[in-house]
Amino acid sequence: MATEEKSQTSHVKHIEPYTAEFETMVPTGMVKFFRTCVIWQFVRFIALNIKMAIVIFKSHK
């Protein structure tokens, strides 16, 4: 009997090959982890606010 090995995408439900869902990219476990890692997201919070503020102020010129 084959044993299931843990891969970088084992968090994703089985995707049927040769479907549109199979032909796109899916995030790795690390990407998923960092999306809700509070410390990293606090850094991103500051970065995103700066980036969005630049676009907003550029648009208000």
Partner: protein, 485 residues
Amino acid sequence: MARVVIMGAGVSGHTAASFLQDWIGEEHEVVVVTPNSKWNWIPSNIWVGVGEMSKEDVTFDLAPVYEKAGATFKQAKALSIHPEGGANEDNPYITIEYTDPSKSGEKETLTYDYLINATGPKLNFAATEGLGPESGNTVSVCTPDHAVHASKELQACIEKMKNGEKQKFLIGTGHGMCTCQGAAFEYIFNVEFVLRNAGVRDMAEITWISNESFLGDFGIGGLHIKRGGYAASSKLFAESIYAERDVGWIIGAHVNKVEKGKAHYELLDGSMGVEEFDFAMLIPPFAGVGFKAYNKNGDDMTSDIFAANGFLKVDADYTPKPYEEWKAADWPRNYQNPTYKNIFAVGIAFAPPHLISKPMSSPNGTPINPTPPRTGMPSAMIGKAVAKSIRDMIGGADMPTHTASMTEMGAACVASTGKNLFSGTAAALTVYPIVPDFEKYPGIGRDLNYTFGEIGLAAHWIKHLLHYGFLYKAQMKPGWKMIPE
């Protein structure tokens, strides 16, 4: 003393009213006419629709806010515009009918020196047979009451799943000419998030249906963001999140009929299909609210100032032309009606010159393409620019002094994909400019330095802060002008 009448108090109308009252309110009169007694922060309706917020969390009473600011508030719906006056009135005027319960049904004539049409859209559920909460077939999150109803229906489905009954969810757009794919995008992933947290995700089959020709079009022809050394299409990122969250998709679809538990649709390739569902939230197409306009003699001149879709014509180039010939210059800059220089339209109420996405139709001739979004940040910025122009015109300027072209402004958008302080996520996106300009930005039509996107908890925090920030600003509390549009 000049009188500025603003029809509608949504994001754009309320922005224009707030600033005008602040700038000229002491010497001139600002009158707001809207059929609703409450202001609604529409982006948070999706959280009401999944039971994460209440109706009260996303609304507040307008009357006390305008009373405190000194503006005149009339809870009424506008019926007609008379830009040349009429038989008994030399000044331009509109007619209104009160929806205020104390005067319900009473009609009134309201003269103006400047008129801003900020009525937003008519939710045109009737465009698709059987669509909408009134039919009982589908729910909506377009209004707070709709969202409350959607939440109740969703909770009923969750109970069924807890009792072992599988449920099918269909979420997206309910017609081939819809806009607001972003709201439906947020709703489908918030539903998925809520189902996961309720422990019933494995009992649910969730499907997206929309009129976009590719996932990630969002009515702005898609966008590109920098990732891994590439300018990558929004299609990749949109498809990725659907695949990751196990949400299927049907795209290029015009839903042409809805029955109880069944949505009939036509695809861009001309084929027909039926999707069964237990719960469906399908956004309706938008149309103008359906004003009539009359000249001095009382003759109907609606088609002179309104486009066929009911939106007001402004300083755009409405000459029909193929997609390949579209230019940034087609888009309006000052939002002034070309015939009547004291009439402006802001937010959804102005008639766009054409789509932003490429027009497409099925072999049967059915148009299936997203219509241009003009809500949120651009809507507020247009409202403020028009308010500045009117302020200056009242002060003596002979033409609008400020512009807010969607081809020269960017937009920041935060799309929720799950509401929780620690496990929630959202997609933070900016595009610059909103309407791609392939002459100025050859290749992908936008400036990659100011067009970006990422998903994460930080974006959810921003989304939540925007909720409180914009409700604070709209209530004109101390320092409200410091919060940008």
